[in-house]
Symmetry: C2
Subunit: 194 residues, 2 copies
């Protein structure tokens, strides 16, 4: 199992990290010994929408050998959907590669043709922009259309990550990772004790 986490200048890093954290725990918490990943970019360092600098583990190259390719969103995606070099790079994913997006990363999957004829979601502020690329825009946290899975806004990346963990390793592993991440929607309302 080999995952490509796509990163690019102007991305929202939490879109990437919300999936990266639970998925990489499959390895670091000892659930899947041969779980591998790369942080993939076309340049380095990558500078996110707030100026945070990240060093990818792989720059350029085809994405065809990855089982899973995950694309985050960010304000830069509005321009990047018309960036031929970037979109052609996304198209190098293999036929059996599961392609996944978070937030406005769906616009990039759309520009690469992955959403044709499929239901999909994105950040609520990008619903109108997404329509040109897909069969239907769906207002859900996660839309699983088989070869392509899309997640809604920024923090839905965490739900997506846990959803992928369950697909890859089952409900019990998902529950252990969810506990370790202290992800408890039911008690996460602001309840600061003074």
């Amino acid at each position: 199992m080999k995952v490509a986490f796509i990163v690019y200048d102007g991305m929202t890093t939490l879109d990437f990290l919300g999936v990266y954290d639970p998925l990489t725990r499959l390895k670091t918490m000892g659930f899947i010994a041969d779980f591998q990943w790369d942080v993939c970019a076309l340049n380095e360092p990558v500078v996110d929408s707030s100026g945070l600098r990240i060093l990818p583990s792989r720059v350029g190259g085809s994405l065809e050998d990855y089982d899973l390719v995950i694309v985050p969103g960010g304000f830069a995606s509005r321009d990047l959907q018309r960036d031929t070099a970037f979109i052609e790079w996304l198209r190098t994913a293999g036929r059996r590669t599961q392609v996944v997006s978070v937030c406005s990363g769906a616009l990039l999957l759309g520009a690469a043709g992955y959403l044709q004829g499929k239901p999909a979601t994105t950040h609520r502020s990008s619903f109108d922009d997404l329509r040109q690329y897909c069969a239907a825009v769906v207002d859900e946290r996660i839309v699983d259309a088989g070869e392509v899975i899309t997640a809604r806004g920024v923090t839905s990346s965490i739900d997506l990550g846990l959803y992928l963990v369950e697909k890859l390793a089952g409900a019990e592993v998902k529950e252990r990772i969810r506990w370790q991440m202290d992800y408890q929607p039911e008690d996460s309302a602001p309840t600061a004790r003074r």
Copy 2:
């Protein structure tokens, strides 16, 4: 307003990003024009607990000029609480600096003496380790003890970030940032549509 986001080898990056994302939106979404921050480390690049490499914007130097210093957790914190150079660095925060931790970052604040006589929280798996440093371990997402605020496990960083946003800019700004982050605990249960 100037924030120091502390990063270190072996940290859990989501602990850092969950606060970094909402707080930096105070600037990037145009709510506080002079909101500034550094990503501070004692070395570079920083390599997180899963191998992700991050470049700090500032290496070394005193923390005394920051209004807010935020310390993430991670497995490395268990050793780091006995690392004299690191703990002394945390102690350079100024008298008026608000000191904040996420997850096992509380052990580092504890080792630096910031939790003496105060209630605090940390990841549930570190409750026993935290007791030596504070007046009481509290099982809440966020514990606001005035000069020191601690958050529980990994994803409580997002709740902490939004809590700090509200303290700094009010409830309306918090609501706009929460919407932009699509952080909706009430609908974030896994409800993937197939």
